[in-house]
């Protein structure tokens, strides 16, 4: 059989264009509707408390309730991402009920997910929150500034740990950088600086000299950085992170795991601030403690 194809003038374009592409398995418009629905619920949840104020105060409160902590980018496309993928498990979940926005309206399977196999902790009386993140992950970069104030509002007994995602070589590289900073007691400064380097400055941090230069800015000499980076301590922390990624079956970032039983993601919660609200709700519920 002669399989050679001879295209006429316009046939080639039509022929090639007739191939179908592999379609996404995410319904983005449903996801957008869910985000919009949750945003509307969050706006209206404060109204009963301020309903008695005058119209001008009500309007001001609506504006205040709408303000987000995240930086805005006016007409400037969001640059950079290294997002490692957002959890899609909840993308097809039902739209929240009419009371969504109040604590009693948070539902497993909708706003958060229950782990099929809970992770046992060392001390079930201590509430624990584990936040998985990735430096290349743009949503993680947007999410990070919200964490400080949120953590300050948690019960003193709650433990919060950030663990880098490690499911590919790129992420393990950045995880090692995270633990290097941790071993040098520079976690907070390095954390912010690394996010800014990747997402604001669009630096490449894939080669060690560039990473060493960043640590030099933080007051760490080249030899000290290299010693920490290659230390057995950092290696051990990395291996624990890899195990944690496997135990929690982390598939996307950012993600908050509460008490080893529940996971909240931006897509399940409907946004970053909602994610923190739901995590706070879950950690404070006595019945949700691990057994």
């Amino acid at each position: 059989m002669n399989s050679r194809i001879d295209w006429e003038a316009d046939d080639f374009e039509r022929d090639v264009g007739s191939f179908a592409i592999v379609e996404p398995d995410v319904d983005y418009s449903s996801l957008a509707r869910r985000l919009a629905s949750r945003r509307r619920s969050g706006i209206w949840s404060g109204w009963p408390a301020i309903a008695s104020l005058g119209a001008g105060l009500v309007l001001a409160a609506v504006v205040a309730l709408n303000l987000q902590v995240l930086p805005t980018q006016l007409d400037s496309p969001a640059m950079d991402t290294g997002s490692v993928g957002l959890e899609t498990a909840d993308a097809q979940s039902a739209v929240p009920s009419a009371n969504a926005g109040s604590a009693t309206a948070y539902e497993a399977g909708t706003h958060y997910r229950e782990l099929a196999r809970p992770i046992a902790g060392d001390d079930p009386s201590i509430a624990s929150l584990v936040i998985f993140f990735g430096y290349p992950c743009y949503p993680c970069y947007q999410f990070n500034p919200l964490l400080g104030d949120w953590q300050a509002g948690l019960p003193e007994s709650a433990s919060v740990e950030q663990i880098p995602a490690t499911w590919n070589e790129e992420l393990r590289h950045y995880a090692r950088i995270f633990y290097t900073a941790e071993s040098l007691d520079l976690t907070d400064q390095a954390h912010t600086r690394i996010y800014a380097a990747l997402h604001d400055d669009r630096q490449e941090l894939t080669e060690l000299p560039a990473v060493a230069a960043l640590f030099l800015e933080l007051g760490v000499s080249g030899p000290a950085f290299l010693a920490a980076y290659g230390s057995s301590e950092v290696e051990a922390r990395l291996q624990r992170a890899i195990q944690a990624n496997q135990d929690y079956q982390v598939q996307a970032t950012p993600a908050i795991y509460v008490n080893g039983r529940y996971v909240v993601t931006p897509s399940s919660a409907g946004g970053f601030s909602q994610m923190l609200d739901i995590a706070s709700y879950l950690v404070l519920q006595p019945v949700n403690r691990r057994r």
């Binding site: 592999v22 985000l35 007409d75 950079d80 997002s83 790129e170 894939t206």
Partner: protein, 163 residues
């Protein structure tokens, strides 16, 4: 503009253009799961904006594009080679069409990046030259030129494959 208005516009936009947004990402990543992630990231990034961009549609497409470009740049630092993107659905193709599809994928990979991206967006998402020009921040004439050259080059290479 309140974020409620922004979200309503985002919902409308995704209802009308989600496929084009996905293909705009696919044109760069050439791989479904990365393209999916990029579009979701862009959705969340736009949903968190405190202000409505002047042209939300253009903003969203450019966000998708920039995120996709950054993603492949990050990924390519850690891989020795990138295999041709397998983003065509061959399930319902005859064996001959599957052969041609694979040749198209290989030869698309050999094209200049600009030509490849424009071809994918035009051929598989029916984006116009004007829309592609807005997304890539170039002129429609430049886009048209990339398209023609890319298409001719693709055709030449496919003919060579058959010889």
């Amino acid at each position: 503009m309140t974020s409620r208005t922004l979200m309503a516009d985002v919902v409308n936009l995704f209802e009308k253009r989600q496929r084009q947004l996905y293909v705009a990402a696919l044109a760069i990543t050439r791989e479904r799961s990365s393209a999916q992630d990029v579009v979701q990231d862009a959705l969340l990034a736009v949903a968190e904006l405190g202000h409505q961009p002047e042209n939300l549609e253009a903003y969203l497409f450019r966000t998708v594009r920039n995120m996709a470009l950054h993603r492949i740049k990050q990924q390519q630092r850690f891989t020795d080679s990138v295999s041709p993107g397998e983003f065509l659905d061959l399930q319902n193709c005859s064996p001959e069409r599957q052969v041609l599809a694979r040749q198209v994928l290989v030869q698309l990979d050999e094209l200049d990046a600009s030509q490849r991206q424009v071809l994918i967006m035009k051929l598989f998402a029916d984006l116009t030259f004007d829309e592609i020009a807005t997304i890539t921040e170039t002129s429609p004439n430049t886009v048209a030129s990339w398209y023609r050259r890319g298409l001719n080059r693709l055709k030449e290479k496919l003919y060579e494959q058959q010889d």
